[in-house]
């Protein structure tokens, strides 16, 4: 397989993987246990799906940096996303969630 073909197949694979994950997220949201937030505003929805937006951005970053074969772009992009994710985690800091901490 030529380099350009291999890159294309790789990009398709990683995109397919991300799309699958996003599709599962929508499926789970649709099948979620408590639907009290269904009537939420667009802002609420965006907040709820922030993780999916981050995922889409990461996919863009990964395809771009690999296409550019740039470790620097990859590293900087990762650091920015990590800072954002740390903030996101801290905002959603949970000490008690529903029935259990570990599993279901």
């Amino acid at each position: 397989m030529k380099y350009s073909e291999l890159l294309f197949v790789w990009a398709v694979s990683i995109t397919w993987c991300t799309v699958f994950l996003i599709a599962v997220s929508f499926y789970l949201y649709h099948r979620r246990k408590n639907r009290s937030t269904e009537s939420g505003t667009i802002r609420v929805r965006l907040k709820e799906f922030l993780f999916v937006l981050v995922l889409a951005c990461l996919l863009g970053l990964y395809i771009l940096s690999i296409n550019l074969t740039s470790s620097l772009v990859f590293a900087i992009g990762n650091i920015i996303v990590e800072i954002f994710l740390v903030g996101y985690t801290m905002r959603n800091k949970t000490t008690t969630t529903g029935h259990g901490a570990n599993t279901h």
Partner: protein
């Protein structure tokens, strides 16, 4: 000494029909008088000497049946019975003809993996076995002329043994003496009613067990009276021993066992499909056949949760050990999970919520006078017996016995002789004794006031005998008053009877009421605290008592237990099964119920999808203990209860129960963690491996590299059972939910695949990696993500910040990561086909893995908080 031979039938099918069994090859001790039995077995009324007993023990062996105790071989077989391992082994041997080095490495990794699993499971099983042995059945044998309580395993033919109510008969025994002895032989014959026993010689040829009234058989239960006899057969030579295999009662799978098994089967079928698929595709696109086969098998091995039995066993043994420290002995280790998941606890009142030491508070005539004759009659109509200097039997009878003795009354006086007894049963709720007094023969009846009063026509007053009808209005409020005050009351009545050889329940009518005896059993001091704790843990406590509902309500109120609804046994009798299902949800006190109704209540709760625990200590509790998901008994309980129970409390205390439930929840939590980890990271890795092999001109990882990673991963997970559980996880009982596991896998699995594909991109396009470098890079990334994700998945909280992992889990996991990191630079790494990675890769790896872990953590917020799973 005559030989002690086995079985009723020589080589016949003992299980087909016990009624057709014969005694052709058994020494006929039933047909000779007790004195000859002593002579034949070279023993006497003074029993054996300790020295002789030891000698016989060497000859006949321990009095125990072959059990399903753990064996090293069974554990080893469990490690290797995975068909994939076997196929992989065969494939490795075949590969040896082409690439010997790889073949040896694969075999070595498989062997190491098996040894690791074996070692851990063996150690865990040994601990469980040790704990199980701490609860042993006892027998009262006469040795060196003294009655001694010994472990029933040490009984030998010729031992003289005494048995009491509630005892499980420890071996086959020829009776030489007995008193009102009734034995329930249901375990042997299927007959649910107890059979009367005597010690008279029988002249029967080839009798069935049912015909041998002068024999007691191992495993049967004394339901009434006392007896003494000579052991004629022990262990596998007993009747029970010869048919025990077929009679062994197998418990149904617990909910968790069923869930884990279904999950395992799902993974195995998925894995087999994957093996066939990957192998076919790889072979079709031109990869070498042997390499493709080994690769597909290695991927499959990576997916199979082969460590699951070890994790479960280690978790259970660890929990059992912790529970033993809190004086809770686990007899059936799989019950620990159900113990944690239990959401309804049915318990009796006496001894659990109350002190259990019943004593006589008062005795009174219908007009309120203290009449000593009430005590005297209570003593004459009494089933308590004196054994080993202690008054045993029904606690109320024992209390009357002790109280009457204090007042100077003794049962064996010359003036009153007990001629016959009509035993107590739970249907009549009373017993009677026929007594020869100086003035004639009397039938004295003692029992539940409503049962006795229903059979009374007259009442004794200072003015003489009067019709009872006009007195009922005075008596009933007094009884209610006593019951509301939390006291139990029994009634005593009598009538004259004519002289005849035997008496039946038909005589229990037209009685004259004499009076009442009131008992007290105060609530336990720590029961309130325990009930509160159980409530906070989501365990609904239901009281199942044979006692009066007013007494039960009073005790519950004193302990702060809210009474929602009280149902009497008589109401339950009128209900359909659907109505019972509704009633068991609404009520939390069931009063005046029979053992059969206890069983009905537990069955109904189970049908309603509850995990039900039952705590009991009496003979009549055994069926309920067996039927419940978790049977709990206490060390002081009768043998049959202890034997049936899954868990034995060394102290009859609800507080230790709460501690045990916490341990159960910890086990469940840690086993579930392993399942979720396996599904989320292993699945992702193995799917991306399968995907990559299709477009890469070489294998993304060599088979032995995959197997080695799998081994390292297993090592890292070994300390998972020691991990901490977040405090809120212990709050409520959990239920096995395969749908949750499926959703979790579907959501968290692709995260791992995403980062695997990213690593492929980095290795191929940034580093332009050759096969060895590519494989090394992916091995390290895959291992880091697979192992480190445990810290994120193990909790719903923020890892390390709001939820700290267990010390040993942290140490071992980080050590495994460190080992995986330096591996490419070592000789072993070189042997496995790894090459050193460039410095730039490590920088990218750290960033990539950090993003991965943070992304999974953000995914957790979406999964748990937004989707509310």
């Amino acid at each position: 000494m005559a030989p002690v031979s086995a079985g009723w039938t020589a080589g016949g099918d003992a299980t087909s029909d016990t009624n057709t069994q014969t005694t052709s090859n058994r020494k006929d001790y039933w047909s000779i008088p007790p004195s000859d039995v002593f002579r034949e077995l070279e023993t006497s009324v003074n029993g054996l000497s300790e020295q002789e007993a030891q000698a016989r023990l060497k000859t006949y062996g321990l009095n125990e049946l072959p059990t399903h105790a753990f064996s090293a071989m069974r554990i080893l077989i469990r490690q290797v019975k995975n068909p994939l391992l076997f196929i992989l082994l065969v494939a490795a041997v075949v590969a040896g003809f082409f690439e010997l080095e790889q073949s040896i490495a694969i075999v070595a990794i498989i062997a190491l993996s098996v040894v690791l699993g074996f070692y851990n499971e063996y150690k865990a099983e040994k601990i469980i076995e040790h704990l199980r042995q701490t609860v042993s059945l006892k027998a009262v044998a006469i040795r060196d002329r003294k009655a001694t309580q010994i472990d029933s395993k040490l009984l030998v033919p010729g031992d003289l043994v005494s048995v009491y109510v509630g005892d499980i008969i420890p071996s086959d025994i020829r009776l030489v003496d007995c008193k009102d002895l009734e034995v329930n032989e249901a375990v042997l014959t299927g007959e649910s009613f107890p059979v009367e026993k005597n010690f008279a010689t029988l002249q029967v040829q080839n009798p069935t067990p049912q015909q041998l009234a002068n024999y007691m058989f191992m495993g049967t239960v004394v339901s009434h009276g006392t007896g003494r006899g000579v052991v004629v057969a022990t262990g596998k030579h007993t009747e029970f021993g010869s048919i025990s295999r077929s009679l062994a009662r197998t418990r149904p799978e617990t909910e968790f066992q069923r869930g884990v098994r279904k999950y395992g089967n799902l993974l195995i079928s998925l894995t087999l499909a994957l093996v066939v698929g990957i192998f076919t595709l790889n072979a079709l696109i031109g990869h070498p056949i042997i390499e493709s086969l080994l690769f597909s098998l290695a991927v499959a091995v990576g997916l199979v949760p082969e460590l699951m039995p070890a994790i479960v066993t280690i978790s259970l043994s660890q929990a059992a050990r912790n529970m033993a420290k809190r004086r809770v002995v686990v007899k059936r280790q799989v019950s620990i999970e159900d113990f944690g998941n239990m959401d309804v606890l049915c318990t009796d009142k006496t001894g659990t919520l109350t002190s259990g030491k019943i004593s006589v508070k008062d005795y009174w005539t219908p007009l309120g006078a203290a009449e000593l004759r009430i005590l005297q009659y209570g003593l004459l109509c009494n089933s308590a017996v004196v054994g080993l200097g202690e008054v045993t039997g029904n606690p109320m009878d024992a209390a009357i016995w002790e109280f009457a003795n204090e007042k100077g009354f003794h049962k064996d006086s010359d003036s009153n002789v007990v001629i016959d007894e009509i035993p107590f049963d739970y249907q009549r709720r009373m017993m009677s004794a026929v007594v020869q007094t100086k003035v004639g023969r009397l039938l004295i009846t003692k029992g539940a006031p409503e049962s006795v009063l229903a059979r009374c026509e007259q009442v004794e007053t200072p003015n003489g005998i009067e019709p009872i009808d006009h007195m009922r209005v005075q008596i009933e409020p007094k009884l209610t008053e006593q019951a509301e005050a939390g006291y139990r009351t029994i009634a005593l009545a009598y009538r004259s009877v004519e002289n005849k050889s035997s008496y039946s329940v038909d005589e229990e009518n037209k009685l004259t009421l004499l009076g009442f005896i009131t008992f007290t059993d105060p609530p336990k001091e720590d029961a309130r605290q325990a009930l509160n704790k159980l409530k906070l843990m989501g365990v609904d406590v239901k009281i199942l008592t044979g006692d009066n509902e007013l007494v039960a309500v009073k005790v519950c109120q004193e302990l702060g237990l809210t009474v929602y609804r009280v149902i009497r046994g008589s109401e339950l009798t009128q209900m359909t099964s659907n109505e019972i299902r509704t009633a068991v949800e609404e009520a939390n006190i069931f009063a005046r119920i029979t053992p059969e109704q206890k069983l009905d209540i537990i069955k109904a709760l189970k049908v309603n999808k509850h995990v039900v625990g039952f705590m009991g200590d009496g003979v009549n509790d055994a069926p309920a203990l067996f039927e419940s998901d978790v049977g709990i008994s206490v060390d002081s309980a009768v043998d049959v209860s202890k034997d049936t129970a899954d868990i034995v409390l060394l102290d009859k205390d609800l507080l230790v129960l709460a501690n045990g439930i916490e341990e159960g929840r910890k086990v469940y939590g840690n086993v579930t963690k392993y399942i979720l980890m396996g599904t989320s990271s292993n699945f992702g890795n193995m799917f991306s491996a399968a995907g990559a092999s299709l477009f890469l001109p070489f294998l993304p990882m060599l088979p032995m590299q995959i197997l080695f990673m799998n081994l390292l991963y297993d090592v890292a997970n070994m300390t998972l059972p020691t991990d901490e559980i977040d405090v809120e996880y212990k709050d409520l009982p959990k239920r096995w939910d395969i749908d949750f596991v499926r959703k979790f896998t579907l959501f968290f699995g692709p995260f791992s695949s995403l980062y695997d594909f990213l690593t492929y991109g980095i290795m191929l396009f940034i580093f332009g990696a050759a096969p060895a470098l590519f494989q090394t890079g992916w091995f390290v990334e895959s291992f880091w993500t697979e192992v480190l994700v445990i810290f994120v998945i193990r909790t719903r909280r923020i890892p390390f910040i709001t939820s700290k992992p267990g010390k040993w889990l942290t140490i071992l996991t980080l050590s495994a990561v460190a080992f995986g990191t330096i591996l490419p630079f070592t000789f072993l790494g070189h042997f496995l086909g790894f090459v050193p990675l460039p410095a730039e890769f490590w920088v990218l790896l750290v960033l990539m893995v950090a993003t991965y872990l943070l992304l999974v953590d953000a995914g957790k917020v979406f999964f748990y908080k937004v989707c509310k799973f």
